[in-house]
């Protein structure tokens, strides 16, 4: 029954049609919220008592690393769907999400490094949080490389899904690294269950930036997946009707 349900709602044709309708709404919401969140954070939020104005990188860095992990988690769910139920769309979504994950992880690492210069006095430290995030970045690149290494695309999809599932072990390590090891990186200031230690004047623009970046990345995902799906399904009748 679950399998029938999944297959019914996971046709590439329906996905392309539905996301094409949703794209304008998502991109408008994403960009509007990013502009509001970043303008608020960069110009209206007060300077931090310890870090001064350098902390304003938080409105980019934190959303970026949140989505670096969430995108991988999404890919792992898709990988399970592909391995267990052989859902074609799930493999297409992994392949489309991986470059976005690599890009946003790079932005997270890069913004953190730049933030580290005025704050820690160094742009890089081999501590647990930063190193595990670097491993995540390498995982994204590895997944893309692996998928591009085979001429048989079905085989590529399957091996890519297996690698994604194996790599998901890194996500809780990244999340818990600041608690398990003594690191230069500070522990989480916001948690889903336990509230926040950040002042509301900084917290609200941060939340808006997170939501804004989320919608922006979903919009980007819609575009990358559309081009990939059309390419993979180019011999199907619905694609000919679509273009």
């Amino acid at each position: 029954m679950i399998s029938a349900f999944i297959h019914k709602f996971s046709s590439p044709k329906s996905f392309v049609q539905i996301t094409k309708t949703l794209y304008p709404l998502f991109i408008f919401t994403g960009l509007s919220m990013l502009i509001i969140g970043w303008t608020w954070g960069l110009l209206f939020a007060p300077p931090d008592a310890v870090q001064g104005n350098s902390y304003r990188i938080i409105f980019l860095h934190v959303p970026a690393v949140i989505f670096a992990e969430l995108i991988y988690f999404f890919m792992a769910l898709c990988a399970l769907m592909h391995i267990v139920w052989r859902v074609r769309l799930a493999a297409y979504l992994i392949k489309s999400a991986a470059p976005i994950g690599a890009m946003i992880t790079f932005i997270g690492l890069f913004s953190g490094s730049i933030w580290g210069i005025p704050t820690w006095g160094t742009w890089w430290q081999w501590d647990a949080r930063i190193t595990s995030t670097l491993i995540l970045f390498i995982m994204y690149l590895g997944i893309l490389t692996l998928h591009g290494s085979f001429s048989n695309l079905e085989k590529s999809d399957r091996l890519m899904s297996i690698l994604v599932v194996i790599g998901v072990v890194n996500i809780p390590i990244i999340k818990k690294s600041v608690d398990w090891w003594s690191t230069l990186h500070q522990p989480a200031s916001i948690s889903v269950s336990g509230g926040s230690s950040i002042d509301p004047s900084m917290l609200y623009p941060l939340i808006i930036s997170v939501i804004g970046l989320g919608f922006t990345l979903i919009s980007l995902g819609i575009l990358t997946s559309r081009s990939y799906i059309l390419g993979r399904e180019k011999n199907k009748k619905w694609v000919l009707d679509h273009v």
Binding site: F44, S54, L60, F110, L220, S227, L230, K234, V239
Partner: protein, 58 residues
């Protein structure tokens, strides 16, 4: 909460010596995001063009 945190444009750009870090990070990130959207849009156009050419009546 909605008072601007700076007195003039020079303060906004300089951010007490931290402007170089803050603005460079945002500029590079925004450039990467914009580039990603442009590349994705171009890919869709490219794929559609290829499919149309392949299936054009001869």
């Amino acid at each position: 909460m909605f008072d601007i945190a700076f007195n003039n444009v020079n303060e906004i750009i300089g951010m007490n010596g931290h402007g170089i870090y803050v603005w460079s990070v945002y500029s590079i990130a925004i450039s990467i995001l914009v580039m990603s959207f442009l590349v994705a849009k171009n890919r869709i156009k490219g794929v559609k063009r290829k499919i149309k050419i392949k299936n054009a009546p001869s």
